[in-house]
């Protein structure tokens, strides 16, 4: 599961101004895993995007990674 976390980290760190403030937490549930992404307050817009476009693209790519493991994943931006 760790590469999925790496995927989120790679994308988030590539888009923000403060890569050091990027934190991804994994919360495992019975059938699904929740990834909680937190970034510097000023960077929040950069990982969400207009109308959530960046966040939704991240979710789409995340699903590809998760599908390989037959797991359900959700991404939340804290």
């Amino acid at each position: 599961m760790c590469t999925t976390k790496e995927l989120i980290e790679l994308i988030a760190k590539s888009l923000v101004n403060e890569p050091d403030a990027v934190i991804v937490r994994e919360v495992h549930g019975a059938s699904a895993t929740i990834f909680e992404l937190s970034v510097a307050p000023d960077d929040k817009g950069r990982v969400i995007g207009k109308g959530g476009r960046v966040a939704n693209s991240m979710r789409t790519l995340l699903r590809v990674a998760a599908a390989k493991e037959r797991k359900r994943v959700t991404l939340e931006i804290m």
Partner: protein, 247 residues
Amino acid sequence: MASQAKGSVEVSAKTVEEAIQRGLSELGLTRDQVEIEVVNPGRGGVLGIGAEDAQVRVSALPVEPSVEMESPRVEAEGEPPVSQPEPLESEGDVAKVAAELLQGLLDRMKVRARVKARMGDDLAEEGEEPVLILDVTGDDLGILIGRRGETLRALQYMTRLMLSKKLERWEMVIVDVESYRVRRRRSLRQLAVRMAERVAFSQQRVVLEAMPAHERRIIHIALRDHSQVATTSIGEGDRRKVTIVPK
């Protein structure tokens, strides 16, 4: 979020091309940075009778402002926007950086695939400049395309965002998987021609299924010089559909 919409303009002119050019100069953007929607392809009319101006909507792509946020905000206050510095990287370097970024994404998505960069014009319209294309090849990559290309669009969007952030300027790049875009483009053009024939024959309008902007654009351009039909789009957002109507 600091990025503000550059907005969009609706422009009318004698031809679609002319209207697009006007729209671009009004926004101060290049073709790569906008989404173009043909509102009304217009018509020449007979001896000037029934002539109608072409009308297009030119909208700044959302990714562009987020790249511009990079310019020092304090200095930019109240000053005209500083023009982007000359590219430091050669075309080859940009291609290499872009391919590496995409490869990095694919590796972490646990997709075994190769990325090859090339400059190509087979995904551009006639008369447009060749663009940087990243071809992804491998086994069983349908998962990277997704339903109606949804995953491929996300992959391309993310690659563009990451590349633009890294280069600190907007860079046009197209991501293709197993030539999906090339094939899709070919079938959309064939669909356009076939439906145009039907409309010309029956004199009944045909509404195509909903498509994203760049796919609608392929249809509009394929039929822009058609003598018997015209194209418009109806509906909003994800539900927007090209309509082919008799002239």
